[in-house]
């Protein structure tokens, strides 16, 4: 039976409450890292391609196989001026597996040579046709659906990773870091702390620098005030107190990760610098956190990280397979940045401990407009990492004109016999939670992901948390 969204909220507030009333935890803000230890030093990165990435030009049918995917693609994506068609010959260097539904040969966009290298190492799961029922074409609503792990209209206030964190960490922990200035929607909850900082170097306590001589005294007073509150019997004081202590210490512990990394890992640091792309720079921040943990940096226990990269809302001037195109440039940035980060992780000895999911709020319209694409529905997600079982998962959506909805988009389907059956985002989340983050199957259904009710061919009424890309 599907549980109500209210019990999700209740669940997280109960988790918060339990952390409020556990006096033994108050002395040491990081004592709850015990749970983190039970999943080992495993990391999960959520990478958001903001704007709606054109999935049909990201994983492209190079042939028809037993169906007509390539023909349908050629109908929808034109050649010539403004045409977005990526030809089979442009795909020769980035071919991956076959589409499970049709047998069509698939290729990554020619810009994604970096990702292709990782695919050839068997470290990339290409998961096709991802979405959810009643897909929204609004950026905001669609993003919130992916972040919350609930279809639009469900109006849940927390994120899917957030609910996982709330169930496992206490108020004084910092199990998540967003490499940006706000807490990302997928991490949102109230039971535990998530740092939001675009650069470790700039995560600073806001001291008044005019009187340097006062800073040490200011810090002592601040820490004393907040430690006092953390030890108070009034639960809300204790919560605020603990949060303040962990915040102050985080500004000190995370801040040093920058120098630690830069001094020890000059070659990779320079490689990120030379890449000169925001995704590479953001991934370097994640690398700093991970490297710090491998070096035993004090009070650094983050397990979840989030990165967002914009520019995917390619309504016009999208470009096809040529290297001077806008979409080529975006996808090259993704592929090359991920390759660099993966190599860095290998070099740090943690490649097997990092799983990355690359997602967007929606794909784009099957048929292109003049030189771009409008908002669409299902699209491919990438999950990669040293422990990932690479390959193609899920079916390419049915892009035949006759199969599209009134607005020209592919249609979400959960019909078991459908060779174009969609992959629900919640099966990806559940597989990650179960096989990577150690959350029991039933707990996932109770605390994090609720099954839909309704028509089982059009709603997510049966979970599959064993998709296979994580053992």
């Amino acid at each position: 039976m599907a549980i109500s969204r209210r019990s999700f909220l209740k669940g997280s507030s109960l988790a918060a409450a339990s952390s409020l009333v556990a006096p033994s935890l108050l002395g040491n803000p990081f004592v709850r890292r015990a749970f983190a230890d039970t999943i080992g030093d495993r990391y999960f990165l959520s990478i958001f391609l903001d704007g709606g990435n054109d999935g049909f030009n990201t994983v492209i049918p190079a042939s028809n196989g037993g169906g007509s995917l390539r023909d349908a693609y050629d109908t929808a994506r034109t050649t010539g001026a403004g045409g977005l068609n990526v030809s089979p010959s442009e795909l020769t260097n980035t071919l991956i597996g076959l589409d499970p539904g049709s047998g069509a040969q698939l290729g990554l966009h020619p810009g994604m040579t970096g990702l292709k290298q990782l695919y050839d190492l068997g470290k990339v799961a290409v998961i096709q046709g991802c979405g959810y029922p009643r897909q929204s074409l609004s950026h905001e609503e669609a993003r919130m659906a992916w972040q919350s792990g609930t279809p639009p209209g469900t109006n849940i206030g927390t994120g899917w990773i957030g609910r996982y964190l709330a169930a496992n960490y206490g108020g004084n922990d910092i199990p998540g870091v967003c490499i940006r200035n706000e807490v990302a929607g997928e991490m949102r909850q109230t039971a535990t702390s998530v740092l939001a900082t675009s650069r470790m170097q700039s995560l600073r306590f806001p001291y008044d620098r005019e009187f340097d001589s006062d800073i040490a005294r200011k810090r002592a007073a601040f820490l004393g005030l907040y430690q006092g509150a953390a030890g108070a019997t009034l639960p809300m004081s204790a919560y605020v107190g603990g949060s303040g202590v962990s915040t102050l210490l985080a500004t000190e512990s995370y801040n040093g990760l920058h120098d630690l990394y830069v001094n020890a890992r000059g070659t990779f640091n320079q490689a990120y610098e030379d890449a000169d792309r925001s995704m590479a720079r953001d991934l370097r921040e994640a690398a700093k956190v991970i490297y710090g943990i491998t070096q035993g940096a004090e009070n650094v226990h983050a397990r979840m990280m989030q990165i967002a990269n914009g520019g995917y809302d390619t309504h016009s001037d999208q470009g096809g397979g040529q290297s001077d195109g806008q979409h080529f440039d975006l996808l090259a940035e993704v592929g090359n940045s991920l390759k660099l980060f993966y190599d860095d992780c290998v070099d740090m000895g943690v490649a097997d401990k990092v799983v990355i999911m690359v997602w967007s709020e929606f794909g784009r319209r099957v048929s292109q407009n003049d030189g771009g694409t409008d908002h669409g529905t299902q699209y491919p997600v990438f999950v990669l990492g040293g422990s990932v079982t690479g390959g193609v998962y899920g079916n390419h959506p049915n892009i035949d004109e006759l199969a599209l909805s009134d607005d020209g988009n592919t249609v979400y389907s959960q019909a078991a016999a459908d060779s174009f059956r969609s992959t629900d985002m919640r099966d990806i989340y559940g597989t990650i939670l179960k096989h990577w983050l150690g959350m029991p199957h039933q707990t996932i259904l109770q605390n994090v992901l609720a099954l839909d009710s309704g028509d089982p061919t059009q709603r997510w009424t049966q979970e599959n948390f064993d998709m296979g890309f994580l053992a």
Partner: protein
């Protein structure tokens, strides 16, 4: 035991002005205590305002209106109105990210303002056809062919009944949502964006016999086995008013007014503290008569004169039963600026700006509250939901930016005008500064020790000469920053 006729002490007055407004200056609270006024008398005074929509200049967008609202909060002599509007903005949470229409958002703000202390029945009926709400919860897309349940669900779950009653029993079933959604079909906006009922878009019983009659709450008190018929006053436009009238009659599993209890709880949690016992909820509801009159003013007054409200004036050491609430970011920013007599300028391009710092809107957003953008229909997450490392650092940044402005124009921070420079004893200076912020009695002995250690450089200078501008710039500005950052000031 006290009640409406109990005299307001100075500590009570501080609490009342903090919760029903944006804090009182030491002068305000001393004056109230000296006049030996009853709780009821002071509370009546807080309610002596006539609501008016905020004026907006032509062609100004939502950000400008936001600034106008901020300036109104900073200046107003009737802060309770603003507090109520904030409550209703959260209760009927609507965000412009979804609505994408500044005019409708501004219009909704006007409605919240006009109805803030009025009649709750009329308020709900007005919200039914508020354009921003009609868009936000899909009434505009509620079609007879496939009725959209979005508004029907939230109307019951969030705006009136709640999912569960005080005893933890469900208040309604999915079938009730379906039937209410049908009643809301046919409502659209005309060319002037005014709500209009379109008969041809409405779901009449005879058109869809398979859906059964529009009857809700079968087998529920006081409706009995046959339930409440939403077409009892005819089919068509009147149905949505009947929905509201029916919801207000709804009784919970204990035979009490479901909406009465829930609104009492919500308003108590807003003005006083989380999780009041059911007995307190029932007592306030009974004393207010809200469950029959639906008079919001009577309900809020009953809360603001109740003993349980004044229990929150408690001084440290707090025990585990003490109730304190986390200040909303908007409360933190507005009350701080008011108490410190800082009046941020409104820059033509940027908006209302803290000198040498960001706009107030940006500060508030960093702290987790952007007005007109509640994160979802649930509104903002209160209490612990306001606190994270990122939001705390944002509060501290605001405190730092405000307090480090030295020797700037008179609209900026000037602690020398707030604290007597003749004071030399660190304890007395601390008391004076904390009193300005209304927290002198909220600091524990431990807090005082740490703050005095800061002032005296760990005892190196046992007295302070505040007439020394350098020392004042360092320690008095620094002390205020610490007080704005301290845990006691995050709570109220």
């Amino acid at each position: 035991m006290g009640n409406a006729t109990s005299l307001l002490t100075e500590a009570d007055a501080r609490l009342l002005l903090r919760r029903a407004g944006f804090g009182g200056t030491p002068k305000d609270t001393t004056k109230i205590a000296k006049r030996k006024l009853t709780r009821a008398k002071v509370v009546d005074g807080l309610f002596s305002f006539k609501p008016k929509p905020l004026k907006l200049k032509k062609d100004e967008g939502l950000d400008q209106f936001y600034d106008t609202w901020l300036q109104a909060m900073l200046k107003t002599k009737k802060p309770l109105l603003e507090k109520l509007v904030l409550f209703w903005h959260d209760h009927f949470a609507t965000n412009n990210t979804t609505v994408q229409n500044s005019d409708w958002m501004i219009r909704q703000n006007g409605l919240l303002r006009m109805m803030a202390k009025g009649n709750f029945r009329s308020f709900l009926k007005a919200i039914n056809t508020d354009p921003a709400m009609m868009d936000f919860l899909d009434t505009l897309r509620n079609r007879r062919r496939e009725p959209n349940e979005n508004y029907a669900r939230e109307l019951m779950e969030l705006f009136s009944l709640g999912v569960l009653d005080e005893a933890g029993m469900p208040n309604y079933a999915q079938e009730d949502i379906v039937q209410i959604a049908r009643a809301f079909t046919g409502w659209r906006l005309d060319d002037d964006d005014n709500p209009v009922f379109r008969e041809d878009a409405h779901d009449f019983n005879e058109d869809f016999p398979e859906r059964g009659p529009k009857v809700i709450f079968k087998d529920r008190a006081p409706f009995g086995a046959s339930g409440a018929d939403l077409t009892s006053r005819g089919e068509g436009a009147v149905e949505i008013d009947v929905v509201i009238d029916t919801l207000l009659l709804h009784q919970d599993s204990e035979g009490k007014s479901t909406v009465g209890r829930r609104m009492t709880r919500r308003l108590f949690e807003f003005f006083a503290s989380a999780s009041p016992p059911t007995a307190v909820v029932d007592e306030i509801l009974m004393q207010s008569g809200f469950a029959t009159t639906w008079d919001i003013t009577a309900l809020v007054k009953a809360i603001l004169v109740h003993d349980t409200f004044y229990a929150n004036a408690a001084t440290p050491p707090f025990d585990v039963n003490t109730k304190k609430s986390v200040k909303w970011p908007i409360d933190y920013v507005v009350s701080t600026l008011r108490l410190l007599k800082v009046v941020p300028k409104r820059d033509k391009d940027r908006g209302v700006v803290l000198e040498n710092s960001d706009t107030l809107r940006a500060h508030l957003e960093d702290m987790g509250q952007r007005l007109f953008e509640p994160p979802s229909v649930f509104g903002w997450d209160w209490e612990a939901g306001w606190i994270s490392s990122a939001t705390l650092l944002s509060r501290f940044r605001f405190a730092r930016d405000l307090a480090r402005n030295r020797d700037k124009g008179k609209e900026n921070f000037h602690p020398e005008k707030l604290v007597s420079l003749a004071l030399t004893a660190p304890g007395a200076i601390l008391n004076a500064a904390a009193a300005v912020l209304g927290i002198a009695d909220q600091l524990s002995d431990g807090d005082r020790t740490f703050l005095i250690a800061y002032l005296t450089d760990d005892g190196a200078q046992p007295t302070l000469n505040l007439n020394d501008p350098d020392l004042r710039a360092r320690k008095l500005h620094g002390l205020f920053a610490l007080l704005l950052e301290c845990p006691a000031y995050q709570l109220h």
